[in-house]
Subunit: 359 residues, 2 copies
DNA sequence: TGCGTCAATGCAAGCGCTTACATGCACCTG
DNA sequence: CAGGTGCATGTAAGCGCTTGCATTGACGCA
């Protein structure tokens, strides 16, 4: 027979193999401490509501048993998780890593756990991740940039999940955000470049679909060119590429093959710029003598490479910390509906010089 | 009366304010699709067990309602989460980021979600994180290095959570691990250094308490020195410092102030080495002419800096992917009890040269 | 036509916790 | 000393899901 293994023999129906691989539950603790589960729960959550004697006894048992509350059950019963989520495009990019670290530290101070997911720059994947984080009970979400599927926003709205969009500040966007104005920042840098007499500009951009930061940075360059009476269509040479030092190097090489050669190569971020720079060295092209190079973000390598990279400094840590505070306030119902614009700073270092022949 | 708000008026007992801010539940879907919750559940989990007609109807409602299963409830009922956890010392270190990315990709392929936590190199914090991840139902854990509190291991054992220790391979350790032998690797590099005639060695180490990788790397240098008849106590000058380019620079400066000066500065990782290198440039010290410098890890900047860094290449991606496979196998009950040693490779680039006066 | 079979679906018992409410007890007040 | 007060604790009803088992009904076969 198949079902004769039912315990018709009167053995205890609860613990199949008592201590062994059984995870202790609240009830186990309660039983062993001689109190009710409610009391144990209170010891864990609102210790001040339990008399010291009892509390000590309970905590001792908790220790002995190595009891850890089951998060799912807890979330289910309490309807909150003290968990925030963050979805970043990739962990490999230092700028997110750093901001996230600050974000997490700030949350940790407030007893909140952070769940991190990465979307690999794919809006569809991001949608899935949002869904996953919501299902996991994230009380609030940190998102990067404004670009995402309509459904993603719909989901967020329907569930009424507080979220903040970071790494960008676009005055036109209605959503709560904290960051800087990528377009304006890049425009500022480009203005400096133009002031050095450059007229033929190469631009190495990160992929712009689904990435409003990249798009805005590109637009910023165009803005500056137009302001200087140049035509981006004619005088700007664009290469779009994936993230990575090697990719930057390849793009730079391609740009150098053009005639006439650009006298400056502006890059969408420091990593691409670092790649460009190393390629320049490899090709024996003097920087900034023959060609100037600029980056964006001011990550650690910017200062490290030689010549040191002219770039735009972005306050990653403040962004992360600020985002955490915003979210915390939102969750607490304090109506911080104001987006925050953080200042960026152009760091003129060594890779930008006057256009050849200008001097 | 207090309890007169019971719905004695025959109104529906379920949805207090129907669509509004109510999150749809399985039951909502079921009701609306005219099936039982069991069927909806099956549609979501084992679609092949539901006839196509019903399934379509249900899925349509799922769409309409924007239903997403409550993870906690699901975990509670199903007793598994399809979630793995990883605890890394810090997200800011590129070597972890990269390995982790690969780890995550491999898990994603298998329908598993990754939860990441960082311990900031603190064993106590790590213990808390382990506990948190377990409570969250992590089915398996990725840990870095062997150093952790006794309680951490006790916890893992008691709960019978599969875990693998990565970034290290220590033949003496009984635990399942995947990585490389830090000690042996550094010994190999140090042997090369000694072969170049260096006798006075400066060593910039990451903090060694709670970090067996750092400790092992240090030991590796000592091993090599002893093998060459040197006395580490006399001929090795050690500085221990935090992680960061700036810290590496400071340490290098301190080392250079010593008399006699070391002729080579070996660093526990590339970031410290990069800092040392930039400080050398700042101080006008020729590398490798006056002082040689070595790193460890072979992260992207190693090749980027100039002169390019001599370092030890570590297969981060393979490590991440391998760890994922190990864990997956463990969870499936396949007894992969064999630790994996991954090969490292010494990358002789430009920062290591003969000791001055040796030529 | 009657019966067995089997696929599709429903029923209902929990999973481990939190918490509103009930209970019991010590102590205080008039 | 009866009755009230308030604190510490217990009782038990779910939270939203999965899943073993029961039920249903369509179909094939004798």
């Amino acid at each position: 027979m198949i079902s004769d293994d039912q315990n018709a023999d009167g053995s205890d129906p609860a613990s199949p193999r008592s201590q062994d691989d059984m995870v202790p539950t609240l009830e186990d603790v309660a039983r062993r401490a001689g109190v009710s589960t409610a009391t144990v729960s209170r010891c864990l959550n609102t210790p001040e509501r339990v008399v010291s004697d009892t509390r000590k006894r309970v905590m001792k048992v908790v220790q002995e048993l190595g009891y850890a509350p089951n998060f799912g059950a807890r979330a289910l019963a309490a309807r909150r998780t003290n968990t925030f989520g963050a979805i970043i495009p990739t962990m490999e990019n230092a700028i997110f890593a750093r901001g996230l670290q600050a974000f997490q530290e700030e949350l940790g101070l407030n007893g909140i756990t952070l769940l991190v997911a990465s979307s690999s720059y794919s809006p569809e994947l991001e949608e899935a991740q949002i869904s996953a984080l919501i299902a996991r009970g994230a009380d609030a979400l940190l998102l990067i940039g404004h670009d995402r599927t309509r459904q993603s926003y719909a989901l967020l709205d329907r569930r009424n999940i507080p979220y903040v969009v970071a790494w960008v500040f676009d005055p036109e966007m209605p959503r709560l955000s904290i960051g800087f104005d990528n377009r304006k920042a890049m425009q500022g840098l480009a203005a400096q470049v133009l002031a050095e007499g450059h007229r033929r500009i190469g631009f190495i951009s990160a992929e712009r679909t689904g990435n409003d930061r990249a798009r805005d940075r590109y637009k910023g360059v165009c803005d500056a060119m137009r302001a200087a009476g140049l035509d981006p269509d004619a005088d700007l040479q664009l290469i779009e590429t994936e993230y990575g030092i090697g990719k930057g190097a390849q793009a730079f090489e391609k740009l150098m093959a053009a005639t006439p050669r650009p006298t400056v190569v502006m890059c969408g971020n420091d990593v691409l710029a670092a790649g460009a720079l190393s390629q320049a060295r490899r090709m024996g092209i003097a920087v900034p003598g023959e060609v100037s190079i600029t980056g964006f973000d001011d990550v650690e390598i910017a200062e490290l490479v030689s010549p040191a990279l002219t770039t735009v400094h972005v306050p990653h840590r403040e962004m992360g910390r600020g985002a955490a505070r915003l979210l915390l306030a939102l969750r607490a119902g304090e109506g911080t509906r104001e987006s925050v614009e953080l200042p960026v700073e152009i760091r003129l270092r060594e890779t930008l010089g006057p256009a050849p022949g200008t001097a």
